[in-house]
């Protein structure tokens, strides 16, 4: 739970550093907040306490993250007709990185289901190794999607700190295990509550201030 709150606060704070009150409108900011929070969710999936102690919560959080990513992807073409071209050939690189990140997470999710896990992996260790690799790849692709789009990370140092943060967080997560396992993995209710609060804060600050 603390990891989820920490990742959420860190990611959103970093996007607010340069122009905290500057928004692109409620619809754009809400759609992007959903995407950023989904990334915080992916980072949390790496947090200790998630697995193997509470595999069910890990799976539930993964489901919530995938639904958030789907909502993020559907949001823009549904609310702004012109943005559907960003899902077609000719779209900028950062959009293809986002699509690729989503596909990699879908593959990681599918391969982790009981039937697939035994079919594709020789051992539990092999499964965990490839599951983490796919997760890291998805994080790197998502980080490229966010930084290259430049919507909230306009300055180079912001983008650099963001990249370091999202790549280091899963790698460092295991080294700080003892302090974080106490709080355990977040439940779906806790996750949704944090996301709702963060969404409202992000959108309200940028549009009502």
């Amino acid at each position: 739970m603390r990891f989820l709150v920490g990742a959420t606060v860190a990611l959103l704070t970093l996007t607010l550093v340069v122009h905290p009150l500057l928004g692109g409108g409620v619809l754009w900011d809400l759609g992007n907040a959903i995407g950023l929070l989904a990334l915080a969710g992916v980072l949390t999936l790496f947090a200790p306490g998630q697995f193997p102690r509470t595999p069910r919560r890990h799976q539930q959080l993964a489901n919530a993250v995938l639904l958030m990513l789907l909502a993020h992807a559907l949001w823009f073409p549904l609310t702004d007709a012109a943005s559907h071209v960003y899902l077609l050939p000719g779209a900028p690189t950062y959009m293809w990185l986002g699509v690729a990140g989503f596909v990699v997470l879908l593959v990681a999710w599918q391969l982790s289901l009981p039937g697939s896990r035994q079919r594709w992996h020789a051992s539990p260790a092999s499964f965990r190794r490839w599951h983490r690799r796919l997760g890291m790849l998805a994080i790197i692709l998502a980080a490229g999607h966010i930084t290259l789009s430049g919507f909230y990370l306009g300055s180079p140092w912001q983008a650099a700190v963001f990249m370091v943060l999202v790549i280091a967080a899963p790698l460092l997560a295991r080294s700080i295990t003892p302090r974080l396992t106490d709080s355990g993995a977040p439940t779906v209710t806790q996750t949704v509550s944090v996301w709702l609060l963060a969404c409202v804060a992000f959108v309200a600050l940028r549009n009502l201030a």
Partner: protein, 123 residues
């Protein structure tokens, strides 16, 4: 259950990408506007609402003598400029709105893509 939801979502995403938004309103599509060599989105610039902006902010050709035709005659037709079309015009239009908003002046950022991406024969 989760697999069915994800599958339905991915199908909806593909349908949205190919067919566009189901809601009524402007639905710009990529096409060869302004004689562009590649399909692009249409664009609009509302001159009257920008009357207080210095012309030279956009019209560099007034000082560098680089042409006297419409913006698109160079920016979509010349290959070396066409490749940067999106970056250049997003940088020019959107960033100007963002900067003015950040400095407290009137003119916040454009709220939606379709605010600018509609057909304008004069641009």
């Amino acid at each position: 259950m989760m697999r069915a939801v994800l599958l339905a979502g991915v199908i909806a995403l593909v349908a949205l990408a190919v067919l566009g938004s189901p809601w009524p309103g402007e639905h710009p599509e990529r096409a060869r506007y302004y004689d562009s060599p590649e399909p692009i989105l249409p664009m609009r610039f509302d001159h009257p609402s920008h009357a207080t902006v210095n012309c030279l902010t956009c019209h560099h050709e007034f000082v560098d003598d680089s042409g006297n035709d419409t913006c698109m005659s160079c920016h979509v037709r010349r290959p070396e400029l066409a490749a940067q079309l999106e970056a250049q015009f997003h940088g020019l239009c959107r960033d100007c709105h963002v900067d003015r908003n950040a400095s407290g002046d009137a003119g916040g950022p454009p709220r939606a893509c379709v605010a600018c991406h509609v057909i304008d024969g004069k641009i």
